[in-house]
């Protein structure tokens, strides 16, 4: 009797996706919609933290230093592209235009929202119409914005509006999307993108340390770490986490290895691993799918075993760089396993 009831309970509490899966093209579009949204949000966060840092620098009489905005261009990994479009001048206007409003930059905020909206338009039949409408409305408004909008509202106010709009999209998705395979691809895209982006936000600090007269542990250093935490919405959570004083090791440990904080690298990878587990749960697992799952497991273990002091000693930037390369590898694995439309192997098997 007990067995029967617990069985039926587990069936209802753990429903599984249909064996056949969804269209690969659609899964790909959902995955990328989430990546674009997450990327846009993090771009806004990145600019926000830098705008605040620059304000802090103000007191140190560094405010006119053109290098104040330079790190952002490096962190997004597109300095060549930037120089081609804007020359060598990395002032606020150029950097913000490039990162927020320039459609020639395929990773700019507006490009990401446009791409997410184009993807969503392709799969309007698959996602909730509320989600499509929310995204469409946001894009139609954003289309009319420019650098003037940014300065008119002030960076902090304007960027928090952008972040809020993206959070609204997450909220709509959260409450509207059925928890089927599409949802797990959506989440997978989101968490892989987040892991990559947060590692880049941490990396921005590496560039900020560059000025030669800088001292680790100085007052300015603390202020900067607080800003990095804030850009991940992690400041208050960090304070509550009983990790004590704000030090380099503690902050890095929190952002890289905290299990509970949703924007830490480890949490993002655990979430991504769970997504792949859900996707392959009820399917005949292919070699590629299995490989993807294993790679995520390895990366999770790597993060869990990371010794932060050793990382600081041997080079934080290199550590983060390697991490980003691993994320790219997993992204390629996901594509090969689920998203490409080439099914010759399956068809002949």
């Amino acid at each position: 009797m007990t067995t029967t009831s617990s069985q039926s309970q587990s069936q209802t509490s753990n429903p599984v996706a249909p064996r056949s899966g969804m269209l690969s093209r659609v899964a790909n579009l959902i995955y990328w919609t989430a990546r674009y949204l997450e990327r846009a949000e993090n771009t806004a966060r990145l600019i926000d933290v830098n705008a605040q840092l620059v304000l802090d620098l103000d007191a140190q009489q560094d405010s006119d230093d053109p290098r104040a905005w330079e790190p952002l261009v490096y962190v997004t990994g597109d300095e060549k592209d930037f120089v081609k479009l804007y020359g060598e001048t990395t002032d606020e206007r150029n950097v913000v235009e490039y990162l927020l409003f320039d459609r020639r930059n395929t990773s700019s905020f507006v490009s990401c929202i446009f791409a997410a909206r184009e993807n969503a338009r392709c799969i309007q039949d698959q996602i909730a119409s509320e989600m499509w409408e929310t995204l469409n409305t946001f894009y139609l408004e954003l289309k009319q914005h420019d650098y003037e909008s940014y300065t008119q509202f002030g960076p902090s106010e304007y960027l928090s509006q952008l972040k809020l709009r993206i959070q609204q999209l997450y909220g709509v998705a959260e409450s509207m999307l059925p928890r089927d395979e599409g949802w797990w691809f959506y989440q997978l895209g989101r968490y892989l993108e987040r892991a990559d982006n947060v590692s880049r936000i941490i990396d921005i600090k590496y560039y900020m340390i560059l000025p030669p007269n800088h001292q680790v542990g100085a007052a300015l250093d603390i202020v900067q770490w607080a800003s990095v935490l804030r850009s991940c919405s992690a400041f208050e959570a960090f304070r509550r986490s009983k990790r004590g004083q704000l030090t380099l090791t503690r902050v890095l440990d929190y952002l890289i290895r905290d299990r509970a904080f949703p924007r830490s690298l480890l949490s993002a990878i655990i979430a991504a691993e769970n997504c792949v587990r859900q996707i392959i749960a009820d399917a005949d697992t292919t070699a590629n799918a299995k490989h993807t799952f294993e790679q995520l497991g390895k990366l999770r273990a790597h993060l869990e075993q990371t010794d932060i002091d050793a990382v600081i000693a041997s080079g934080l930037h290199e550590y983060l760089d390697q991490f980003q390369v691993k994320i790219i590898g997993i992204h390629t694995d996901v594509g090969r396993a689920f998203l490409q439309s080439e099914y010759e192997e399956v068809a002949t098997a």
């Binding site: 969804m22 690969s24 338009r121 392709c122 039949d125 099914y343 399956v346």
Partner: protein
Amino acid sequence: MAELFADYDTGPFYDEMFTATGEPRPHYQRFFDRYAQLNGMEELVERQHTADKTFERRGVTFTVYSDQAGTEKIFPFDMIPRIISAEEWRHLESGLRQRMIALDLFLRDVYSDQKIVNEGIVPRSLVESCSHFRKALVGVKLPLDRHVHINGTDLVRDQHGTYCVLEDNLRTPSGVSYVLENRQVMKRVFPNLLRNYDVRPVSNYPIDLLDLLHSLAPPDVPEPTVVLLTPGVYNSAYFEHAFLARQMGIQIVEGSDLVVENDRVYMKRTHGLAPVHVIYRRIDDDFLDPTVFRKDSMLGVPGLFEAYRKGNVALTNPVGTGIADDKAIYYYVPAMIKFYLGEDPILPNVETFLTSNQTELQHVLDNLPNFVVKSVNEAGGYGMLVGPKSTKAEIESFRAKIIANPRNFIAQPTLGLSRAPTVCGDAIEGRHLDLRPYILYGKDVKIMPGGLTRVALKRGSLVVNSSQGGGSKDTWVLADTNDPTPAATEATAGRITL
């Protein structure tokens, strides 16, 4: 007369709302009374703005091809609905049913015994020279023995108010999503207007369409998979494809999502291939299968036609229906009705001259400035000459085209199409319109009560196509209040369809 319509002039045309003496027609009376309560043009324009915003937000758009960037535009929506009385609708419905049945019989005949050709009712040369005639289909058995499932027939009213058929659209008739969206927006913008007006609901269409698609599945498949095949997101009607797929709960696919193995169609999913049984295709025959039709097409699926011929997959509309879209074949539909059904056509064709016929050709050439000349295979208002609105040079250039290829054209006298009051800027003016009802033919003929009313927004223009600056109106078919078994209306629709 209410303020809003105080300066309204019906002109020399049949007006949908007002009689020649300026009185609202009986089925418009209640609407007229309600509109009189509006706060003048200002309120109307304000609500118009709300409606436009709603369309934009919902992405109810079509893509303009001529524009490089593929600009999406909303299909302009007019706030004054077109109202059709129950009696008028009964007449239209019986005429459309009769026409649909005859067209199906014609297509079946053309692809089997060809009686109508053998008996000389329709010239053999005309059929064989038709670019949509698919020889490969002769003798192929189709599900339900049905050769057309969906038709969007364009109707117009002449000076006397008589409904005539302007053309049939049997390949991939579009626009039905706008009918459904128009109604949704009308309900939002004028929530009180539709209440208790006995307007028949249109929202059942996707369910009827899905039923039709299911009925075409191979008989040995208990739970058939139905998909909608689109050319892709850049197609001008992509919004409609996504809309219908969502409403029916079916998968929208592109050619590259499908693959044919052993004459069976599959779609590529994340965990492998899954069989497909019925395809509502929104691409023309030419692009369906590069191994049989256009070799350069990237939109279709290699091997699809063979799977279709073997009956492993059903297509809506069937391959080869386009032959009845040919405007020269259209000329013979009244003869088909007579031939197959032994009945007189309930809905007449618009008077038409075939330029492939020597004597009619001469008549057309002699009176070219008075004719509308249409290319037999063009749609969307492209490739036509509107004689009275054209320059001498345009007319002469068309004359040369006709003489070079008389098979490719038909000519119709310019009609004084009916008009209806339409919001134009800050005034209400009469604008010409047409009506495209949607007819489904599976086991039975089903006609959605209403259809797409397209309206020429440019003053004096007769061209209603969206690609030519046309707009649309919500189309209200009124329930028959005398009928002892009343039809569902918008007021009761919620209980019936949800």
